[in-house]
């Protein structure tokens, strides 16, 4: 391999594939490699054989009667796409959307006092919602009207609150909202994982609620959309974009070493299968830079563990109880409800999304690990599922780069976090782009390919 590349990308997770696509469109010569023989890395969707191989090192047991292997695309990370969020914008601007088909997630639910209820998103739903009493509903209505009318440039709509300065706590207090209402606003709508936001300036929370309600307004049933055939379609679609613009793809390539100049410390190339490929820069997920290894790669600590997430992939042969037999759902268990610091999430999809055999649901229960017995921490989520046919538990450390990469041309992405959507993934894309290019990523509409 004598060619020299502008960028080598290691790992075909969604973050890396979006970056690869954008860099190829930008005119850079990209070589994209993965150690696995499939696309997606940590954000892949697996068929049954791959799933059992990865977790059990054995084939799927016949006795469970799970149906055809090829009907399955089981996501390794549980996330949905906020329909008015940044990933949607990215998909539209790159025109990658044409390779995909989507379905709306049927409902978003929140757990309170031992049962789940639909998250109200319209005034009508709020009025009928069992989550609030009569007077509380009136107060909540005032709060939502305030948000609806709030305009940055028009101080008259601010009702005397400078949201860039006052805390969310003060906003809650102004509208007199109860703790339980704060729980579902902060956790089921602003989608915060813990309560740290309450004492911070209200602006970010308000932006997140507006994003939620805008997403909700788009298709009605929930704020989320989901790609048919699973989340693993997303990296593949962006990889195709990269390939169309000249990106070279190599799967099933073991990476022996990431090479640096011994004097300057700058990246020089990658060695794979005994061959060395030169490039100016490397971008990759943490697993290619010593994540999880005792001995740091090349004597340098390039990634650091920032926390752990527990995920339980559960196979069900029935819809989740209390969701009106929905083909899909998100359920949020706010931390206060079960005496935790972090929320527990459930994300469920089914054969309706071409990710499982007929009449099979896949539900993933996840949370940020707080104790030494994480499996016990997800019990409140598991208990909502009813009978579980089989269950695959992973406890995954999350990694972040120790340096921005500008001093060695090694640019490392972050692990997929515990949030229920892809907003932080796109943030990471913007961040890496800024580090690599030294300028802000501006999404331009891609030139439309000629239609004859």
């Amino acid at each position: 391999m004598d060619e020299e590349y502008d960028v080598i990308v290691l790992g075909t997770g969604l973050t890396e594939c979006i970056l690869s696509g954008l860099l190829s469109v930008d005119g850079q010569k990209v070589l994209h490699m993965d150690r696995n023989d499939y696309y997606g890395g940590a954000s892949a969707s697996l068929n049954l054989t791959q799933l059992y191989q990865q977790f059990r090192n054995s084939p799927p047991p016949e006795s469970l009667q799970l149906g055809r292997d090829r009907d399955y695309a089981v996501d390794l990370i549980p996330k949905f796409i906020l329909s008015s969020g940044e990933l949607t914008r990215m998909l539209v601007h790159t025109d990658v959307i044409r390779y995909l088909e989507f379905k709306v997630i049927a409902g978003s639910y929140v757990y309170r006092d031992g049962r789940i209820s639909k998250v109200p998103s319209t005034e009508m739903e709020a009025v009928r919602s069992p989550l609030m009493g009569l007077f509380e509903k009136r107060r909540a209505r005032n709060f939502f009207l305030y948000l609806q009318n709030w305009k940055e440039a028009d101080p008259a709509t601010h009702q005397g609150l400078d949201v860039n300065k006052v805390s969310m706590k003060e906003v809650y207090t102004k509208f007199g909202l109860e703790a339980g209402t704060q729980d579902f606003i902060g956790h089921a709508m602003a989608l915060w994982l813990d309560d740290d936001y309450i004492t911070k300036p209200a602006r970010q929370t308000i932006d997140r609620i507006i994003l939620y309600t805008a997403s909700m307004a788009r298709y009605g049933k929930s704020p989320y959309i989901y790609p048919l055939y699973g989340l693993g379609e997303l990296p593949q679609a962006f990889a195709r974009l990269s390939a169309i613009y000249g990106g070279t793809y190599m799967l099933d390539k073991q990476i022996e070493s990431v090479n640096v100049d011994p004097d300057t410390g700058y990246f020089t190339g990658v060695t794979s299968g005994g061959e060395t490929v030169k490039a100016k820069r490397v971008i990759g997920d943490p697993s290619y830079f010593g994540a999880g290894k005792d001995e740091p790669e090349g004597g340098k600590m390039r990634v650091i563990e920032t926390g752990k997430v527990i995920r339980a992939i559960c196979i069900l042969k029935h819809p989740i109880p209390g969701t009106d037999d929905s083909d899909s759902a998100q359920i949020i268990i706010p931390q206060n409800q079960v005496g935790r610091k972090n929320d527990i999430y459930i994300a469920a999809v089914s054969s309706a999304h071409n990710v499982a055999a007929p009449n099979v649901w896949i539900a993933i229960v996840s949370t940020i690990v707080e104790t030494s017995v994480p499996e016990r921490e997800i019990l409140p989520g598991l208990q909502l599922l009813g009978n579980v046919v089989d269950k695959f538990i992973s406890i995954t450390p999350l990694y972040a780069p120790t340096s921005p990469g500008t001093n060695d041309n090694i640019f490392i992405t972050k692990s997929y976090d515990a949030t229920s959507h892809f907003e932080t993934v796109v943030e990471d894309v913007f961040d890496v782009w800024q580090r690599v290019k030294g300028e802000k990523l501006v999404l331009k509409k891609r030139e439309v390919e000629v239609e004859a």
């Binding site: 959307i97 044409r98 088909e101 989507f102 307004a217 959309i225 593949q236 000249g246 309706a352 000629v450």
Partner: protein
Amino acid sequence: MSRTTSFKLVLLGESAVGKSSLVLRFVRNEFSDFRESTIAAFLTQTVTLDESTSIKFEIWDTAGQERYKSLAPIYFRNSNAAVIVYDITQTSFEKAKSWVRELQRQADPSIVIMLVGNKTDLESQRKTPRELGERFAEEEGLLFSEASAKTGEGVEELFMEIAKKLPLAPPPIRGTPANSKGVRVSGQGDEASTPQACTC
């Protein structure tokens, strides 16, 4: 009024056998000896079968991802037809056979497959006899033809033959009930909520 049905057609075959050239000849009636690699990875062309029926091919090119065995499953997803190309002046016919296997593994069983021996303009350098391709196609139940992207010989005809084989009565895979509740996702703000079949 004429009815147009859309079908996804994927191209397969080794690098440099002329996959993109065949499509460019078909879609734009163009040819270049020095096209380096795929530039137009998504083209459409409509053919008219009769007064009441037209077929729109949405043609997917490999974008070079076949080179290191890195074609993604998304490429095969919901494809209605496949054109597997080999070069009659090379020994790429064996590779064409492995693409047939790959399709049988990944694609819907109802897919219409056309095996094409390209570069008939280089008859004097032929290494793969026509009969070899013909016999294999017959055994596997594939359509077969030979063509030249350079001269245009047989190109229009091979796509026409595929068009005739496509099932017109039941709608194509992309419109099956499983997908009927899909959503159209478009630019921010426009055509906000249209809960209908997605054709993105």
